[in-house]
Symmetry: C2
Subunit: 928 residues, 2 copies
């Protein structure tokens, strides 16, 4: 009756490829697969097939497709019937190519078994080498190689690896046996052990297996099936699942398994193994770059027991300046390797990360894949490959991961520096910095301004009252809150690093200390935050300040030619606006006026307004605020000259502006000369059980129209005076928050328009003419989206406030979800944190409804997004496909958003309707 | 550019009736309108036309349609061009019928001008009588009536009424002139003034008008247009708008104006005026019932200056036992009146409220309309009219207003009793009762149990910790919270009266007192609550206990034959379930298990569970709770024997179960022997900024599976043991709250099913076989509705939790909205409180999406509603039209829901698809 989980996996694969064939051979320049089949063969397998087809020297083998993995998990870990036969056939072919036989006493074929998913998942999956060795075949290997040491070494490696991976016997058992042996022989290095010693070790290892109640299969065929099963099983190990979660790799992709004949880099001095990058992965410079080891197996290079040698002059490091190069030691092989890498780069049209083995002077290619690279390298490679005509500009744009740009825009920790990580939180705002711990904003301000110290503000959670402390701190660390908590949002806006939701941190603010496990940190202790990784580090760590690289500027200039979304910024201050303009923001999509209210100059008047019990009393206080707000708006308009500016009217509940602790109330009481009791009563009367769903947003405008009237007047007067005095052309966009019903909007618009017309009339006499304005709304609660057709009859534009919209659509508070969101991500109930990446099914569907219904009524309706999602690549892609006109994000994310928008436009270009074109024209016109 | 409000009004009217004609005449048995045209003519006008067509003696006149009103408001208070001509023509016709001329010196025609909307709005609109009188025509009237007193009296009435209504001169000016005159003449009654006196008064009145800067128009034609304008304007007076808001009458219906020739009941002893009901409006008994006054105008009957006489023997009251009847005084006229009323009742097939005037022995009918009646009368009339074959059973069902049934089911205040209303809140739970004020639940319990007192629990707001106090109180009064606040919901569940959101009440719980304005009430003071009106009354008022009337039972038996929705109940205790079954609830749609957790027996174990830091610790505490929960469920299953029972797993955030005030924490600390610090820390760690959007519902089940496992075990063991021991057939329905993603549901369902299967296996050995169960979900956050297709693949049923769904769809906390919802209703931004009546546009649209998408995947998906809306008539109608299978509401609302469901089915019968029929069959089957 119940249908269980939607079984996407099998359907997807069944439709893309007939499942009749499960095994695909490669070798001798031929592959049973045509062209790219990453989904089917996994990345590693696919590349081996491709390299084979390119005519490169690849040891022959065959790949079990990902369909087998799907079948395996859908059928209680069993295999499809035809599999066994197909494997036998494929193995025969390998035997033919290699002129060896699997399990034969003479010239035995040894194979490796490796996993390979669609994308590279380094270190996540298990590999077994030397498969096919047993007491008989090892003698064949020795006979052939004339090297008993090599034979027994390979054999003991197989036993320990197989036992660990397939039989589940922890490798420590074997390691300690090895240590015991070395000890008894009085040697320190593995390489000092003799062939006889290793032969003993093989026997010891087998004994260990027995003692653990298991049996090491002598039958190579049994070894093979055991290894295959282990690979498939490893797809679901916690380590693999975690990696996938972190890297957002769908569960249902599955892994392929490649079985390939072994070649040996450790059969003597004419053997070697190495890895190389076709360009420098840290700078992107066009030079062949790699290292190798003579007489070694691949894992030795990675393991770092011996220092690898540079493959050529340009790969030399300070530490390897004296070592011989491959170019020098084996010039013929090196020359072939150069030909190979050039062919590969040309074929893949990307920087490659290759692995090779030299067996007795013959080069074998074992792997090629796109090389990982730093942000700087990524940009340089992309741009230079365009100049080399290897790729198009669009391809170059797609090559750079938007999130990587963060590395370029924020200081980062010196990767060489040592660091003692004491806790981990959410990487809420990128960058890194060190400072002395302070626990309250006042101390932060004092220490910075009066004592000249660098501080990190550590809080349970921040609130708007902390802004002054946050703005002087090097970084912010909070125990609570998610990616869109107050701390996170404000820090990103300020381009300041921040770690939020660091739940292992206990902050005891009254006592001015915090603890992590047994460690106690006091005020004044130094810590370092890495806001890009979420690491909290004890003491100071050297940071590296980024310089904007020329490749960045070049790539970004291409980006702007292809993107179809406009990219605006969320900025509350002229300083933020200035940064955003430097990053080429094309407008201001969200100016939160409340942050101005917290300004020390204004906060007293704001409090006076809140304490007033009559509209007249509020008016009086607002009259003090109005001229200051006007100056704020003027300063922002100036920074954004020529670009649209969207100003949101007051949004947060009033209680945020007044203190709640008795002590703070008493202090304020003395300061503003209002009795403690009255203040306390006001604080209590403003208290709400669920302030997020309370008296805030436009609801304030309904209850206290005079607040919005004052703000609107300040906006319009600022605009008029700039037109009058500084010759601006300007179209203020006034945005009403938290609308849920068209009548709400109409009611507020009505009195705003009255106010605006009064201002315009006044300035008309001073020569200000034709200043136009727009009044639009946030779409941030579900009902606004669901009744968008009605609202669009009144509103000039929509801007999705996806923080709130996500909150209400999920019924999930972003301030409180930190406590249990981890449970959800761990249990894989949520694939991503919905506050970090837009949920396409729920929130996205509401957005779609709002867009369709809104534009049905008003085809040229301008629609944007100003939630935090506006700076997240996957969300921007969704916004693009939904047909939004613009995204708006914090200043430092503007380049990321521009790049993401361009990528979205390349992947899925939009056709513009007439109405859309008109809106786009208008958006452009505004920039004059 | 901006389109303004959607102009429904004009469109609607333009399509239903061509606007070419604005004026419709009636008189001499003919009307220019065919059949019922209430929308066009208003209720009053329509009835005059109808009575005319029935051949009844109606003074001739004409009606300006509601289209004129629409035009008036859409065109800056101007009239359509053709109107003047049409009025002239219609007036001519009246003059012809009456053989009088408007404004003529001899035999002048006088007219009345009355408003009339589509539904009766008593007292809300203004009327002007005697129009057409001036210094000239008054002499004509006197000549004709031979009664100067009558002439001048009519004239001075016109001047004062016209001045008040049209010219805006307050009537007090005229009243004091009248008082002065009486004083100077030494008389006390108006009737003691002579014709000469009244003639003076006419002059005085005109002087007053002049002094107020206005002019009384002598021209009758000008009088007429002034009066018409005043009627249209009165449609928008605050009084009228308020009445419409209270009675949910749309703004855009508009009013019609009827102009009718005057007849006079005050021209002498052969004249009279009266009102009558065709049946007794308070009992519904079939008897002609009314009163009249000799020599009086209509308003005199209502004004109550003279005691009206009974029209017949059966209309006599204690106070009118000595007065003469109309039957006796004017037998011929009475006989005609009887013929008229019988004709009217037969025509309208409903009890009529009629107004008549007798002018010189001739009967004139001035008005007929459906008579207002008590709930009891409403039922009796409906049922008896069916027996009289006057109406069908379906019509009878439609005649009773579901909300009226509340009157029958709850005690009410004696309408005769005096009462001092000191405050007004929301009528949160009907019924009335008196008690002594207490401010905390412990005192409530103590006073009731130990001292035997009756108490009213007065709180800022209630929380689940107050349940024990609420359950012993007579009624509950809270200063905060809306119609679905905790207090309201729980009180309705308990069938106890409650007033919530009484914002003028200041509760100072620590000081054990509260204030309303200047009045202070202390603990122990008596108050009375009327939960049906929201009135808080000082002292005690006598209440009347209802008896279930036989007409109720008969009507309700018809109701069940036509309704298509199943009606279930929300009940948390066996007692509630029992009441609901008595009201014929067909199942239990929501059993909230948390209320059981607050049980004094269990609360300590619950707290122990919360304080445990490990799953094991929680298990241990839960093992104490489990057997108690099992007994709870058994008791409920027993009450609901044969009917489905839906049990919701734990929903509220855990912090609700532990105290937060230091004092309470200290008390608990001693009681359960846990340190104060630990308790305090736990309370703090559970604190959430927005608990409604926090760690609650299924999120608890994700973090602490053992809680849900325990509950599921208790449910299933209870069911199994009833099957084993008491031969039950039972299908428990387990409901998971707050689902927002199908994986969430799947995750929880998975471990629930494991638990259930273990229980079933265990009891299988004891002969329990084939017990089936269902696992379904609440749809109470928007994302659940938006992803219902995925959820339906897993869930056996949906139940809309519309309290939460409304909350998140609107982004509006029901606990906090009380403070500003009034602003919204006042500003007409919301037509209705969305927590009281389901919002069809937003919440309804989400429901529609969920239903369509859910049934696309699972056509036989059972869908119900268990939010508070499930008991509200308009919401039930929406649920019916959306295709729900059932509604569930608190026990006392079950009859209301049944009646509403039947009315919905009659108005808009549903066709059932095959899948729906199957579900309906299954629902029925469960009742065996």
């Amino acid at each position: 009756m119940r249908t269980g989980t939607p079984q996407k996996l099998s359907k997807k694969l069944q439709t893309s490829q007939p499942t009749k064939k499960f095994v695909f051979s490669f070798g001798n320049r031929k592959s049973e697969v045509k062209g790219d089949q990453k989904e089917l063969l996994g990345g590693k397998g696919n590349n081996l097939h491709a390299m084979t087809r390119l005519g490169l020297p690849v040891p022959p083998g065959f790949t079990l497709s990902t369909v087998v993995c799907a079948y395996y998990y859908q059928n209680e870990k069993t295999y499809p019937k035809p599999l066994e036969n197909e494997i036998r056939k494929a193995l025969k072919q390998v035997e033919k190519h290699m002129k060896r036989r699997f399990g034969a006493a003479k010239n035995p074929l040894l194979v490796s078994v490796r996993s390979g998913a669609r994308v590279s998942m380094p270190g996540m999956m298990d590999t077994i080498l030397n498969l096919g060795l047993n007491d008989v075949t090892v003698e064949g290997l020795i006979e052939e190689s004339h090297d008993p040491r090599f034979g027994y070494d390979s054999y003991r490696r197989l036993i320990s690896m197989y036992s660990d991976v397939v039989l589940g016997i922890h490798s420590s058992h074997f390691e300690s046996a090895l240590e015991d042996l070395k000890h008894s022989k009085g040697v320190t290095l593995d390489t000092d052990l003799k062939a006889e010693d290793l032969k003993t070790l093989v026997a010891d290892f087998k004994q260990i297996v027995k003692e653990n109640g298991k049996r090491f299969p002598e039958d190579p065929w049994e070894q093979l099936w055991g290894a295959m099963g282990a690979v498939f099983s490893s797809w679901m190990t916690p380590r693999a699942t975690t990696y996938r979660k972190l890297n957002r790799i769908p569960e249902d992709w599955g892994t392929a398994v490649t079985i390939q004949s072994m070649v040996f880099g450790n059969m003597g001095q004419d053997c070697a193994t190495g890895v190389a990058f076709t360009r420098d992965p840290s700078t992107g410079e066009k030079k062949f770059f790699g290292e190798f080891l003579i007489n070694a197996q691949g894992e030795d290079v990675v393991a770092g027991i011996r220092t690898p040698q540079p493959i050529n002059q340009s790969s030399r490091q300070v530490s390897t300046v004296d070592l011989d190069t491959l170019e020098n030691a084996m010039p013929k092989v090196y020359a072939e390797l150069v030909r190979v890498y050039q062919k590969l780069e040309k074929h893949y049209r990307d920087m490659q990360d290759i692995e090779f083995t030299i067996e007795r002077g013959k080069l074998f290619m074992l792997q090629t894949r796109s090389g990982k690279r730093t942000a700087a390298a990524s940009l340089r490679i992309a741009v230079e490959m365009v100049k080399e005509k290897l790729i198009s500009k669009n391809e170059a744009i797609l090559r750079v991961q938007p999130e990587q740009l963060d590395q370029l825009l924020h200081p980062g920790l010196d990767p060489q520096a040592k660091k003692e990580v004491i806790a981990r939180g959410l990487p809420a705002s990128p960058g890194a910095s060190s400072g002395m711990i302070v626990f309250d904003p006042d101390t932060a301000e004092k220490w910075v301004h009066e004592l000249g110290k660098k501080v990190i503000l550590v809080r349970m959670e921040t609130s708007p009252e902390d802004i002054h402390g946050m703005s002087v701190a090097q970084g912010i660390l909070t125990a609570r809150g998610g990616m869109t908590s107050h701390a996170a949002v404000v820090a990103r806006g300020m381009g300041k690093c921040c770690i939020s939701g660091c739940s292992s941190l206990k902050v005891i603010e009254e006592q001015k200390k915090c603890t992590v496990g047994n460690l106690t940190l006091d005020e004044g202790d130094w810590i370092t935050l890495d806001g890009s990784t979420g690491e909290v580090i004890r003491g100071t760590v050297r940071t590296i300040v980024p310089t904007l690289n020329p490749y960045f500027l070049e790539l970004m200039s291409w980006v702007d030619q292809v993107k179809q979304l406009e990219v605006r910024t969320n900025a509350d201050t002229p300083a933020d606006a200035k940064i955003a303009r430097e990053f080429k923001a094309e407008g201001l999509g969200l100016c939160r006026t409340e942050h101005m209210f917290f300004d020390p100059e204004k906060i007293d008047a704001v409090r006076e307004m809140i304490l007033a019990d009559t509209p007249q009393g509020r008016q009086k206080a607002l009259q003090k605020i109005q001229p200051m707000q006007k100056q704020d708006f003027k300063a922002i308009f100036r920074e954004m000259r020529g670009y649209p500016v969207t100003i949101r009217l007051l949004d947060p509940p009033l209680h945020e502006f007044i203190p709640h602790q008795d002590e703070e109330i008493r202090a304020l009481s003395l300061k503003i000369d209002v009795s403690f009791d009255r203040l306390k009563r006001k604080a209590e009367s403003l208290h709400e059980l669920n302030p997020m769903l309370g008296h805030r947003g436009c609801r304030l405008g309904i209850s206290y129209p005079e607040i919005y009237q004052t703000q609107v007047r300040a906006i319009m007067e600022a605009a008029c005076e700039l037109v009058r005095d500084e010759g601006f052309k300007i179209t203020p966009e006034i945005m009403i928050p938290l609308i849920g019903d068209w009548r709400e909007f109409q009611w507020i618009k009505h009195f705003c328009v009255q106010e605006i017309e009064m201002v315009l009339t006044k300035y008309q006499f001073e020569g200000v003419k034709g200043l136009s304005y727009q009044i639009g709304t946030m779409i941030e609660i579900p009902r606004a989206a669901l009744t968008a057709d009605q609202i669009a009859q009144e509103a000039d534009f929509f801007s999705f406030g996806t923080n709130d919209l996500t909150q209400t659509t999920y019924g999930l508070s972003r301030d409180d979800s930190g406590l249990f969101l981890k449970d959800y991500l761990d249990a894989k109930i949520y694939e991503k944190d919905p506050f970090a990446s837009l949920d396409p099914l729920g929130v996205g569907r509401l957005m779609k409804i709002a867009i369709q219904d809104g534009r049905k009524v008003r085809p040229d309706l301008k629609i944007g997004i100003c939630g935090e999602h506006g700076g997240e690549p996957a969300s921007i892609e969704l916004c693009h496909s939904l047909g939004l006109d613009y995204v708006s994000c914090s200043p430092y994310r503007v380049p990321i958003a521009r790049l993401s928008a361009a990528q979205a436009a390349i992947r899925n270009p939009r056709k513009l309707t007439q109405a859309r074109k008109k809106t786009a024209r208008q958006l452009r016109k505004k920039r004059i």
